[in-house]
Symmetry: C2
Subunit: 83 residues, 2 copies
Amino acid sequence: MKFRAKVEVTLKEGVLDSQGRTILGGLRSLGYGDVEEVRTGKLLQLSLTAEDQAQAASQLEEMARRLLANPVLEKFTFVLEQA
Amino acid sequence: MKFRAKVEVTLKEGVLDSQGRTILGGLRSLGYGDVEEVRTGKLLQLSLTAEDQAQAASQLEEMARRLLANPVLEKFTFVLEQA
């Protein structure tokens, strides 16, 4: 079975998001003073084949831990759907 | 009113995603041969104040076009909820 997955990798709470700060500064200098915070993250869209959804989920979990996210600084969530 | 927005910025179809290719190569070399494609994108989580949801959405649309996404190479979608 083919699956499509969307993985969101974001910085853990408390980790300084310097890219987010830079974007916030940029928005403010463009006049968007109503923005209070910007946090950035990575989005990964994967196509994969697995026997069933449970196997796809366990593979994704493992891939995210091993390669897609840095477990020291980042956390991840994913949604998985049949393609 | 306070809002939280999640903006997803992804490369347009047909734009070469070299970061995605690199991640795909990494996954395969770790033994995940069942992954067929990886596309990468940016995730931006914003906190902002606006008079109502329509105003927040129109501000977001404008910010995404002007700063958050590169309209030549990227497209964006967002979801907006009251904080």
